[in-house]
């Protein structure tokens, strides 16, 4: 298989989670991303919301600068939407009936809320013996900080990742949505493992994911270094110890950057030759990996002068042809325009129910026989009430109307 050819093996089956149902009680970003991953893998995700407690994408987000609802929500795009009011006893009963016909339950309430609602793991196990439940929270379901409120930057702070991120002479740095979504991705990983175990043993499992611990996981090497040596790692900007050049360099054009890393002596020689600067190879300051690192700021100055005269694309082309790691600092526009990503299906063109076209992020993997897929659009609130309450749970239209009037389906 050549690098430019698509994987040729034909798909012979449905997505891996075809036939798996997820009752998705998650809101905000981390929990919904977990269910989104399961949805991309083919699970039928039923997103539970109410008029009073809709997901964040349905509301304005002024702190973030969004003054209205989002027109599309990536992480709800493979899901069905139902309305269910958990403040009413009959809402709880219906939630249990939904769980009884599901394989996986996902929730991201503050720890203790599911218990208060009578929907904790023990209660749901009584409804569905082999249920796999995933709980996503700031600090986990146990421990003295279990009740702490948090958002992505605070998970990054408590878990140390934000503390170690930033310029050497500056403050710690906020880790943004990627902190939420990496928490969701981690939750999906553990949930898939638990579901695989359930398929083999028949036993369900409760997966309890702590977002601050997900942040700790990203600094596991630093934590080990400190525990073993007492040396606390510090913020180092774009530096990597003993590797230079290792930075982001300005290119022609406004706010235009390229990342360059030269790790080995072979790469260093290739780099100097690609720049047509043989003098770099005889300069004693740059004679070894260690001296290059010692003189990295001088090296950065020389490289910046070169990159500034080129586009990001030209720098990348020249250096990659020489076997040197370089890549543009991609904007969202660069990502949706990238032929590689469009060829892989990482970026897909989609048309919504009202004819609106947009680029969306497709599944991040290519499984040759059981491909993942993105096949929906952001559901309207309660769009699938009749399918779920009627077809799946067996309620009549009259019963559904009565529950709507009573604000149980709300």
């Amino acid at each position: 298989m050549g690098p430019s050819e698509p994987v040729a093996k034909p798909a012979t089956a449905m997505p891996p989670l075809h036939g798996v149902r997820v009752a998705d009680f998650t809101l905000h970003a981390a929990g919904p991303f977990c269910a989104h991953i399961l949805g991309l893998l083919g699970a039928e995700c039923i997103k539970v919301e109410t008029v009073e407690r809709p997901d964040i994408f349905r509301k304005p987000h002024p702190v973030y600068g969004r003054m209205g609802a989002a027109t599309f929500d990536q992480v709800a795009s493979n899901k069905l939407s139902v309305q269910l009011n958990l403040k009413q006893p009959r809402g709880i009963e219906l939630a249990k009936r939904l769980v009884a016909v599901s394989d996986i339950v996902a929730e991201s309430f503050r720890p203790g809320v599911m218990e208060r609602l009578g929907l904790n793991y023990e209660a749901l196990k009584a409804v569905k013996r082999d249920i796999v439940m995933v709980s996503v929270s700031a600090s986990g379901q146990t421990g003295p900080e279990r009740g702490y409120a948090g958002y992505a930057p605070l998970f990054g702070a408590a878990g140390g990742l934000g503390t170690l991120t930033g310029y050497e002479d500056g403050p710690p740095t906020e880790i943004r949505h990627v902190m939420d979504h990496s928490t969701g991705l981690t939750a999906a990983m553990a949930t898939l493992a638990a579901y695989l175990r359930k398929k083999r043993t028949g036993a369900g499992q409760h997966v309890d994911v702590a977002a601050r611990d997900v942040a700790c996981g990203f600094i596991g090497d630093a934590l080990l270094q400190f525990a073993a040596t007492g040396i606390a790692p510090r913020r180092t900007g774009n530096d990597a110890p003993q590797i230079a050049p290792h930075n982001v360099y300005p290119c022609a054009g406004e706010d235009s950057w390229v990342s360059i890393v030269v790790s080995t002596d072979t790469e260093w020689r290739a780099f100097a030759n690609a720049l047509e600067r043989p003098a770099l190879l005889t300069d004693p300051r740059f004679a070894s990996a260690h001296t290059r690192w010692v003189h990295r700021r001088e090296l950065d100055t020389e490289i910046s002068a070169w990159t500034h005269a080129h586009t990001r694309e030209a720098v990348t082309r020249i250096l990659q042809a020489a076997g040197v790691a370089a890549f543009p600092s991609y904007t969202a526009q660069d990502i949706v325009d990238d032929p590689h990503l469009n060829a892989r299906g990482t970026i897909e063109s989609r048309v919504g129910p009202e004819g609106e076209a947009r680029k969306v992020v497709g599944p991040p993997w290519r499984l040759s026989r059981t491909p993942a897929k993105l096949d929906g659009w952001t559901p309207k609130l309660g769009e699938h009430n009749h399918y779920v309450f009627g077809q799946l749970l067996g309620l009549s239209d009259e019963e559904i109307e009565e529950l709507i009037a009573a604000r149980v389906i709300y």
Partner: protein, 404 residues
């Protein structure tokens, strides 16, 4: 894990041939979740990551990164440049359910590690390919390290925001510490690999093409969503209008109030000062407009406060606040202890050291690290002889020829 039956991947065998961080992390997480993971390294010094910073010891170089990424695995050596070495690898593949590999695409055919060759010999094996840009597409053979894939995924361009950006608005974007993008790639790979295991009985093995760039675009999808709404994000536009990193007298906290009641809690925490009681600031849109002014006030106030007091008092008022914890804070935190996220790892030169296990519990139990990484080939005898049935004379011969 104390209760072995909780380990979800117990009973699975994974062969890992990984030079990079992403693929090694995928193997690591499978090992922590109970799989038997056999890491195949080149004979001699083994993986280059064994000598990668940060280091635990200089002489001999022992890497904290390598130990973190490889706890819980078995270690064999095998020279894939030789036919005999390739044959040995094929023998353990025949006993495994999943194979992790990050050999560059163009080098795979020579090592018989291309998808058709593996499928022909091991049709039931899941082939989990983990590469910076994936195994197909125009960039499949591009070289990349962490910094490059972080920027290829879109988050690199958008960092930093808030106080760091205000302090250094002209500097190049800053990376997230360590190997964030590659660990995202490894986590994404485990999701795809387990998915393929789920359907292995029905469809057999398959080729699973994981790209670290794709994984990072996926977790950074809000930027693409915003673009679809007509907003091309940049570092400056993405900053929260108020809140963020606050410097206290003895460290830093982060604060973020997205809901009205959280803002009201923050006003109480600050001590109901006159500026914050301005009725106009009850409106979230007005707060956004006057974010710079609010931050000036909050930052001046925070400098007189102690971190631990703020976090305790703030959380009691339901204000989302967190300390920017360092490694010592995390290791000693009551929360970490209660969750059991550190387990002792026996490192030969350093004794027992607490190491991070996993960010989740299963059925109320923390996961365990069964063993520390050992020297390249330390498990050759156990795997090649005791498990596969070769004899020690063969082993000696392979060692003599440099095959293992």
């Amino acid at each position: 894990m104390r209760d072995e039956t909780n380990a979800p991947l117990a009973g699975f065998t994974v062969v890992e041939h990984a030079a990079g961080v992403a693929a090694s992390y995928a193997g690591r997480m499978m090992a922590v979740m109970g799989a038997t993971v056999i890491k195949v390294e080149p004979p001699g010094e083994g993986s280059a990551l064994r000598r990668a910073e940060p280091l635990l010891t200089q002489q001999p170089a022992a890497s904290a990164l390598f130990h973190y990424l490889n706890a819980g695995k078995r270690f064999v050596t095998c020279d894939l440049e030789s036919a005999q070495g390739r044959g040995l690898l094929s023998e353990i593949m025949a006993r495994a359910e999943l194979f992790i590999d990050d050999t560059p695409v163009s080098r795979r055919p020579a090592l018989q590690l291309d998808a058709p060759a593996i499928d022909a010999r091991h049709p039931q094996l899941v082939f989990l390919s983990v590469l910076p840009f994936g195994a197909a597409g125009p960039h499949a053979d591009y070289t990349a390290y962490e910094l490059n894939v972080f920027h290829a995924g879109g988050e690199g361009y958008l960092m930093p925001n808030g106080l760091t950006l205000e302090t250094f608005p002209e500097r190049p974007p800053v990376k997230i510490y360590g190997h964030f993008a590659e660990l995202i790639g490894g986590t994404s790979a485990v999701c795809a690999g387990i998915s393929a295991l789920l359907v292995r009985d029905q469809v057999g093995g398959q080729f699973v093409d994981v790209s670290v760039q794709d994984a990072n675009i996926s977790v950074g999808c809000f930027a693409i969503q915003r673009l679809g709404d007509g907003v091309l994000e940049n570092r400056h536009g993405r900053s929260f209008k108020y809140g963020g990193v606050l410097e206290c007298s003895d460290g830093y906290v982060g604060v973020l109030t997205l809901e009205q009641r959280q803002w009201e809690g923050l006003v109480k925490l600050v001590g109901d000062p006159e500026w914050a009681l301005d009725p106009a600031l009850r409106d979230p849109l007005e707060r956004s407009r006057r974010g710079a002014e609010i931050n000036r006030r909050l930052r001046a106030w925070a400098k007189t406060q102690r971190v631990d007091d703020l976090v305790k008092q703030g959380q009691a008022l339901s204000v989302p606040l967190a300390k920017y914890n360092g490694p010592l804070d995390i290791l000693e935190s009551e929360q970490s202890k209660a969750r059991g996220v550190f387990a002792p790892l026996e490192l030969s030169a350093l004794g027992s050291v607490p190491a991070f296990t996993a960010p989740f519990q299963l059925n109320g139990e923390a996961l365990a690290l069964t063993r520390a990484a050992v020297e390249p080939g330390a498990d050759n005898q156990a795997i090649w002889c005791e498990w596969l049935g070769h004899n020690t004379a063969e082993l000696a011969q392979w060692e003599h020829h440099g095959t293992i």
